[in-house]
């Protein structure tokens, strides 16, 4: 009969506790994953990990900014861009979109409070990438991040010469939930081309 080595003796003592601990750890990781998935993310319930704009549905924003085009979610541009746009509404990309002073203040507050460089940006903070935040482009389609997100789109076929789209300014033409501030890929359906299946 051979004697047990020291290692054998240690392992004999540790076997069950160690096994139990490893199993408990594994179970914990697995179950907490399910729990997280079921209720919310660790970072809160507010779709921080999606392009899901907060605070949409502001009636003044919808009424005043949504008459001629989609009321672009505040999260798409930084504060400086919104301020620039709102101080030049009499020449708004070539059109006269002037409004009352009172309404203008209200809109400025709403838009800057939810801008891409605000605390309410969520995942839209990425739209501040690659631009000078103090002197940014005012056209959403000129943002570096916008261009990057759309670089797989065939501009001519899918947008410009697509009779049901026409321009990148018509977010809602392809982003089915754009008016609710939702832009995730699984909500994209390009007219005459179909869903975006990456």
């Amino acid at each position: 009969m051979t004697r047990d080595t020291t290692m054998t003796k240690i392992m004999n003592k540790l076997r069950w506790p160690l096994g139990g601990a490893l199993l408990t750890g594994a179970l914990f990781i697995g179950l907490s994953g399910f729990a997280q998935q079921a209720q919310s993310s660790w970072w809160g319930d507010d779709h921080e990990d999606e392009y899901y704009a907060k605070n949409t549905g502001n009636p003044t924003h919808l009424e005043e900014c949504g008459a001629c085009h989609i009321a672009y979610p505040a999260q798409l541009l930084p504060k400086a861009a919104w301020q620039e746009i709102l101080s030049n509404l009499d020449n708004h990309f070539g059109e006269d979109a002037s409004i009352d002073t009172g309404i203008r203040s209200e809109l400025t507050n709403f838009l800057t409070n939810n801008a891409s460089d605000s605390n309410n940006a969520g995942k839209f903070r990425k739209f501040t990438r690659g631009i000078d935040i103090r002197n940014p482009p005012i056209q959403i389609t000129e943002l570096k991040y916008f261009e990057r997100k759309h670089d797989e789109i065939n501009d001519q076929k899918m947008v410009i010469n697509n009779p049901d789209v026409g321009s990148f300014s018509q977010c809602q033409a392809c982003h089915e939930k754009a008016e609710q501030g939702i832009f995730d890929e699984d909500t994209v359906n390009i007219p005459n081309f179909g869903r975006w299946d990456d």
Binding site: A67, C68, H69, I70, E95, D96, A97, S98, I99, G166, S167, S169, Q170
Partner: protein, 166 residues
């Protein structure tokens, strides 16, 4: 003053009875001036206000009249609507129909953004012509876009009357 008399025969005493026709005739005959005056004033003011039955529009029409507009004409409003206008600020000729269409009971489409515009006619879109501020804002902006200037009080009244009656 003429009164219309109808000889309806005789009464019990054998005397001819004169019967007056109509209330107005009766009033005139009785010379009931207060009532006559009231009736005249009411009908005059009704004509002046060009009652559309829409208080928001009526209020604006009154204002335009105080600014010098005379009788409003929906037909003139319709003509202005379809008119194609060239002006210095427009690269090509403009018309209200370019965004709102010829038949304003249908939806329109923004000529530049292609955004759908809900029908302008209250007959198919009851929320139209119910908010004075909104009417003022868009008349100002869109007259400037289409005509290159603000619409006159007369033009605005004609347009509103035309829109209201589509």
């Amino acid at each position: 003053m003429q009164t219309t008399l109808k000889n309806t025969g005789s009464n019990d005493l054998g005397k001819p009875v004169q019967q007056y026709r109509g209330l107005l005739t009766k009033l005139r005959a009785k010379k009931h001036w207060p009532t006559l005056l009231l009736v005249m004033l009411l009908s005059l003011s009704a004509a002046a206000q060009a009652q559309t039955g829409n208080p928001v529009v009526d209020h604006l029409l009154e204002e335009y009249q105080s600014q010098g507009a005379t009788n409003f004409s929906a037909a003139n409003g319709g003509r202005l609507w379809e008119q194609s206008v060239e002006h210095s600020k427009a690269p090509t000729a403009r018309s209200c129909t370019q965004c709102h269409g010829n038949d304003i009971r249908q939806s329109g489409k923004h000529i530049r953004t292609k955004r759908v515009i809900t029908p302008l006619a209250p007959s198919t879109n009851p929320e139209r012509l119910t908010r004075e501020k909104k009417i003022r804002k868009w008349l100002k902006r869109n007259c400037k876009w289409t005509l290159g200037r603000e619409c006159s009080a007369q033009e605005k009244g004609d347009l509103l009357l035309w829109i209201q009656t589509q």
